[in-house]
Amino acid sequence: MADFPDVRLHVVSGKGGTGKTTVAAALALALASGGRRVLLLEVEGRQGIAQLFDTPPLPYEERKVATAPGGGDVYALAVDPEEALLDYLHMFYRLSPNGVAARALRRAGAIDFATTIAPGMRDVLLTGKMKEAAVRSKDGRHVYDAVVVDAPPTGRVARFLNISEEVSGLAKVGPIKNQSEGVMAVLRSPQTRVHLVTLLEEMPVQETVDAVAELEAIRLPVGGVVVNMVRTPLLSPAHLAAASAGTLDRSAVSAGLSTAGVKADDALVGVLLAEAADHASRVALEERGRDALAGLQRPSYELPLLAEAVDLGGLYELSTMLREQGMA
């Protein structure tokens, strides 16, 4: 049984470079497996998803990028704020994207203005699209079984999701305000979870802890913590302790090297012991990170560091691990 059976909107955040895009894509594959239909949304306009799935840059159109194990489809969309604005105008004001008014807006730089400068506007549009996709239905059925969002990094995610707050100072009445309230209602509902990706390093762990507090303070539902790029210790606990204390048995190592057919000079043994001490301090750092994360009392999932940058094959591997651990 998966941990988030009723969640339709999975928002994936984390410190920059920890693997948000990778984990969002793996989660989408995991959720799709067994015949479901999942939409993967990118909101930062970098075409990271297209790169990952090795497809040409995504147009502003939901397009199938992968088939999940056991059937099931992953669709992807890179949400572009400008297109989303025209979408929005079309939906609410029947303003044709190629009509006179839209052209006038564009010429005057209004679109650019609204999407890059008018504060909060961009986020209203992007979160609006997330919500729309999550609740969209056709013939009484949801179009997507789940929507996974490759969201902004932890430093900005609370602000990104808390658009009603952002907008309230600017738009006191009118459609933007109504729209943002509708979005907030979905984001705060049991249909939504914000998952956090982290590494077992000091800064990402700290940012994760801070982000959980920040999200809870604004009543956004935090989901799981995905610990990415985990490395398994290569020495036993006793040897790790001895390595950091500098008490590893030199002669045993020397003898071991000879047995293995490696010429064991003193210099080499010295280097190996020093590298072991480094390894031990990293393992210790990781342990401290794990402890801090355990304090959050959230479901947590671990993904190993793959040998090379993640390609499509690696993505399937990671998605299987997420399934096995119950995230999907």
Binding site: L105, P119, G174, I176, K177, S236, G256, L257, G261
Partner: protein
């Protein structure tokens, strides 16, 4: 083929402004602080302008007060001042310098100003440049080291001020200003057909009240437009002046080095001087003669023969490390093949974070090729 080596000490002894750029999280702040500390300990009166330093690093540099002015860093064998950029305050100061108090207050109270000064992408870069200009103008320091904001792309630092001024100069702004300027008449000169639709759509989208706020804001800022443009231009010119040098920081990873490549090319286009590339957090092994493959094979032999478990473990630790070292070296070679004249220096990955002066000294020594920060003769 190997790249020329970046002579960090020479740069520290001769430059007047050093700008540390690079993509997110590669170590710009750490490098800027290490370079500044080393310069100070080599006898130059130095100031470092940091942007969002990690909490512990800020504390150890005495950056506890957020007053947007440089303060002496305690525990330095030389003269080092440090400050943390307060972007909103820097923006406020510009407004204050260009408008009378009553008008300034109206600007501060406007929600659009609040948003622009605290969250518009680009404001931070613009304000960093602004602050650099101010520090330079005082003539207090021999060397100013500048950190840059955590953006995805290093290029943002060069592009953002342009974006802000383009916005302030833009057509949209002129439209919003028109009623204030000419009692409404100018509308028709500025824009052609479709304008009625335009305002009505805009009013629908953001609401009439908001439109008024916006229009007021733009009108109030207008008095300063000339000021903005000139200042941005002056600072941009400062970046090209003799005595300025860019230090590009990258991690030994594909994406970061690709960003560094773009940045190096852009600097050349703009005729901005590049000191060189810092490859930060590299992994080295002092036993490169034992390759990853051989070490792993040896570990397996020990497993199979029931030999020392400890030795097998150590061989695997070494194999991982040697593998990473080779991979990193390959990525770096690829960069240097494309940019054979760019001087490069490596900084080793330390076991923990860099959060105190000793850590900064260690990075500084690594930057200078392992030498202590001796005062030049």
């Amino acid at each position: 083929m190997s790249a020329p080596r970046l002579d960090v000490d020479h740069t520290l002894d001769t430059a007047q402004i050093l700008v540390c750029c690079g993509s997110g999280g590669v170590g710009k702040t750490t490098t800027a602080a290490s370079l500044a500390l080393r310069a100070a300990e080599r006898g130059r009166r130095t100031v470092v302008l940091t942007i969002d330093p990690a909490r512990r690093l800020a504390q150890s540099m005495g950056l506890t007060e957020l007053d947007n002015t440089p303060r002496a860093v305690p525990g330095v064998d030389g003269s080092l001042d440090a400050m943390m950029l307060d972007m909103k305050r820097t923006f406020d100061d510009i407004v204050l310098a260009h408008t009378e108090p009553a008008r300034a207050q109206a600007i501060f109270d406007n929600p659009f100003y609040q948003a622009l000064s605290s969250s518009f992408a680009g404001t931070q870069e613009y304000m960093a440049m602004e602050k650099l200009g101010q520090l330079k103008a005082t003539g207090t320091w021999d060397l100013i080291v500048v950190d840059t904001p955590p953006t995805r792309s290093a290029l943002d630092f060069l592009d953002a001020p342009e974006r802000l001024t383009t916005f302030l100069d833009g057509r949209m702004v002129r439209i919003l200003l028109a009623p204030a300027k000419a009692g409404g008449k100018a509308y028709f000169k500025v824009v052609s057909a479709g304008f009625g639709l335009f305002t009505s759509v805009l009013t629908k989208i953001i609401g009439g009240e908001t439109l008024t706020d916006l229009s007021n804001f733009v009108a109030a800022l207008e008095t300063m437009f000339g000021g903005f443009r000139e200042r941005a231009q002056a600072t941009y010119d400062l970046l090209k002046a003799p005595g300025t040098a860019f230090v590009v920081v990258a991690a030994p990873e594909r994406d970061a080095l690709r960003e560094a490549s773009y940045f190096v090319e852009r600097l050349a286009q703009e005729r901005m001087p590049l000191a060189g590339l810092v490859v930060n957090r590299v992994h080295r092994t002092a036993a490169a003669q034992l390759s990853a493959d051989r070490a792993r094979a040896a570990a397996e032999r020990l497993d199979d023969s029931g030999g020392s478990e400890l030795t097998a473990g150590l061989l695997r630790v070494h194999a991982d490390r040697a593998g990473v070292a080779v991979r990193e070296a390959r990525l770096q070679e690829r960069f240097s093949a494309a940019h054979p004249t760019v001087p490069v220096v490596e900084v080793a990955a330390l076991a923990g974070d860099v959060h105190d002066l000793d850590g900064l000294r260690e990075v500084g020594a690594d930057l200078a090729g392992g030498k202590a920060a001796a005062v030049p003769a």
